[in-house]
């Protein structure tokens, strides 16, 4: 993936750029709004990481608005120290696609970038999802593992659907909370882990053919191998 990072803090820039390169992505960087706008408008990026508070005349939100007005549809992840729910809503209204507050864990950032970058490629008119021999029919709401049908509660179905739509990507606990339960807060306890392990028991009766892996310090990943 080709990523544009618009961020004025040097240490954060180094941390994010290095992390992205290690994960196999290429990253361009702008440390002010003007350069950011120029790069975003002249090059093609799969996803943009945008700090909200930037030096110079153009702040993050007006930069996003400018891009959206110019019909630039590149997915944008807003990175901000402003954590209020209202600020988050403001960011998404301006045209941001996701919002992550500082300080953040790099795993969380990477997982969200993957989800955003993939979204443009993924078709929402899919009727069937498939990972190895795990199949989900979105119309009849039937889930099969090989030839065996798996019975799921509605919320378990939603959880598995989210994991399958993001197969091969790391999905964090926060992403699951927000997208499966619509809870935008941290429940402090490991409730999500318990849901995952319950789902695991249902879709993986034999642990040796495991599809759903736990990724240390980050979250979970559903993948074929």
């Amino acid at each position: 993936m080709k990523v544009l990072l618009v961020e004025d803090n040097e240490r954060v820039t180094r941390f994010v750029t290095k992390g992205l390169q290690e994960a196999g992505h290429t990253a361009d960087h702008a440390d002010n709004g003007r350069d950011g706008l120029f790069l975003a408008a002249s090059e093609h990026y799969d996803v943009i990481i945008m700090d909200r508070m930037l030096p110079g005349n153009i702040d993050g939100l007006s930069l996003i608005s400018a891009l959206r007005q110019a019909n630039n549809r590149t997915p944008i992840l807003i990175l901000s120290a402003l954590a209020d729910v209202d600020e988050r809503i403001k960011g998404l209204r301006a045209g941001g696609d996701d919002y992550l507050t500082k300080p953040f864990a790099f795993g969380e950032l990477l997982a969200r970038l993957d989800a955003l970058g993939r979204r443009t490629r993924q078709d929402s008119t899919l009727t069937q999802l498939e990972v190895a021999d795990l199949r989900m029919d979105l119309l009849s709401r039937k889930v099969m593992r090989g030839t065996r049908q798996i019975l799921l509660q509605p919320r378990e179905f939603k959880l598995l659907e989210y994991l399958m739509r993001h197969a091969g990507q790391v999905v964090t606990r926060t992403m699951l909370l927000e997208n499966v339960w619509d809870y935008h807060f941290d429940p402090q306890t490991n409730v999500v882990d318990v849901h995952i392990s319950k789902l695991r028991q249902k879709i993986e009766p034999e642990p040796e053919r495991s599809l759903l892996r736990t990724v240390r310090n980050a979250g979970y990943m559903l993948s074929a191998q």
């Binding site: 954590a83 919320r155 941290d186 318990v194």
Partner: protein, 438 residues
Amino acid sequence: MLLGILTLVLFALPLGYAWRAADNDTRLQILTEDSQRLAEVFNRKGPAGLADFINERVGLQIAGERILLLTDAARRPLAGNLPAWPAGVPEAPGRYTRPIELDHRPTMVTLVRADLPGGYKLLVGRDVARLAPVMTRFWYGLAAAIAVLLVSGAVGGILIRRALLSRIHSIRQTVSAIMQGELSHRLPTGGRSDELNTLSLTINRMLEQIEQLVHGVANVSNAIAHDLRTPLTELRSRLEELSLTRPPPAEAFAEVDAAVADVDRVISIFNALLRLAEIDTGMRRSGFVEVDLGELCARAVEFYGPAAEVKEITLTCDDQAGSPHASGDPLLLAQAVNNLIDNALKYTLPGGTVTVSTMRPGGGSVGIVVADTGPGMTAAQRARATDRFFRGDASRGTPGVGLGLSLVEAVARLHGGTLDLADRVPGLAARIIFPGNP
């Protein structure tokens, strides 16, 4: 004071006028009767007889009988107290109040002119000026009343002003004491129920709230300092030790991971505090919508279901009130209920139960109860439970920063409701009560 005088004058003017008019009417009536009596004398005894009668009357010198005159057809005086027919008397017989020429001066009189048989003419009248002393006395009275009013008003005003000033002075003293930081001071309030007292009571209530808030802030600052200092101390010593001892990479990385966990703990405390502050400012009230509390509970119970199962706790939802609605922020309400369930699960032992139910406690209000079979809380613990960073003894060693119930309480307050904790023997029932929708 001015108003009093004005009122008195306005009251006196119509009274004076009415009195004067009534007096005039009475006088005219008397004069008419007089002239009729004289006409009768004329009829019985003729002109000479009447002239004698009139002269006799003038001789008596009845006070105020200013005008009495009988003339022949040529208006030559025959009898009476006027030397000649005065100028200014109207030509026709009748009753008049008007100025005429008397002793070469125009004088206001009330007058009855009657024409007798044979061209004789009769004038009976009185000088209005005769009335003047009475009127003067009336105005004197009025002036005296105004004077009394002025004096008593001034004295009363000074007394009231002095009383008011002394009360305001004591209020000012209290306020300056408060401004210097002595928040426990209150405005003096007597047993009186006047406006100033009512105002003082209101201000005292406000001061009470301010004092509580200030103390709350001070407590929170202390608690933050304490609760952030602990993980920061750990973090610092961990990093310092790492830098001093330079252990082999495997060990060093384990320490770094632990340091990151310490930082995460600080961040989570920080986020919880910011969220509380956000709720406390009341900003979120603008985003209120209709929330189905029954559905909210069902979702929270479903969310915690597997976690309860693992702990062998029976977690159930009981929508007793049948999906009551409240106006609120769905996200905050969900977080509040989740916090309560989280707490209940934390303290309930395996084999216990946690029940989440909706209720209508009456008066149109609605509520959510989270009841557990855990150890419950003592009365002293219940009183302090919503203090920021308060953690019961039972919670030592369990994860959490002691802000859970503070947040629930703040959310309840934001929605105009309350959080109360009741002993269930065994266990605890935490209830959030909201004023319902009309």
